[in-house]
Amino acid sequence: MTDSTSTQVIVDSLINTKPTSSSDWILHHVMDGDYLDFSPFFKLYLPHFELFGIDISITRHVLFMWLGSILLFIIMTRVAKAYKSSMVPKGFTNFWELFIVFVRDEIAKPTIGKGFEKFLPYLLTAFFFILFGNFLGLIPFSATFTSNIAVTATMAIFTFLMIQFGGMRNNGAFGYFKGLIPHGVPGFLLPIMIVVELLGLLSKPFALAIRLFANMTAGHIVIYALISLLFVMQSYLWAGLVVPMALFIYGLEILVALLQAYIFTMLSGLFIGMAVHQDH
């Protein structure tokens, strides 16, 4: 049975909600929570749902993931529809075509090679989902859903499944595993190679998940830590140092947002290419 409490809007004064230390404040903002914090104005509590004992309440990251997905869907369907009238894009479509052609020509074609069209939808989805997630997190008062290990782990699991299905479809189920071990390996190394290659199968998507999660979380923690320095020192004079540094790290975060989307997609393409064309 579902059990829900209605959304409450509570006007909270800053005095009642002052955290006990700066690390509390930082972690409160970086990690997932069940309220949207518009302090010092108010806190918007999000509803709690429970289904068969599993907690599926709506948290900050869930809300922003829905927002990112809806935004992605609206933008991409609009771009796709614009191609019905003419193949030459203008304006809005032209802007998104830049990114789409970038993913196709710089990521999918060089890494996967022949037969890249089958994997292009997945790579495009991964790229834009992570890009939107990273950029949504840079807006003040919002949350980065790609800094949630569950989201990045799910993306990595999808990449893992694409790698296995792609490899097994082209090389056959047993042929794929046989092809993992390189040619010309002496017989006595075979047991070690089997273990190493199987572990490598699992560790590569694991690294993908952790890389994205840690990059996003660490960047936001640095920004919050610099801002909390102002409150720890309790003097306005520190703002001359804190604000430029925080702005610089904020600009770096914009670069990192783009870069991490690119790296995730490129490494996914690389692993898929290595699985599909095993004779390289």
Partner: protein
Amino acid sequence: MDGSGLAALAAGIGAGLTIIGGALGIGKLAASAMEASGRQPEAAGAIRTSMIIAAALIEGISLFALVICFILAGK
């Protein structure tokens, strides 16, 4: 005797050591990229792309250690 003080100390020292390794690696990478661009300015674009990819991978490794420091600092 609870070890949360030791855990916090370990997190700090671990993060510092991690950053040394990561910064050394990326520094060497940037140095050789600069040298290669100087030798052959036409290849600067391709070198820059490969440099950024390699830097992101090295940073990914140092972030593994950072995640362990997060876990430690929370204890």
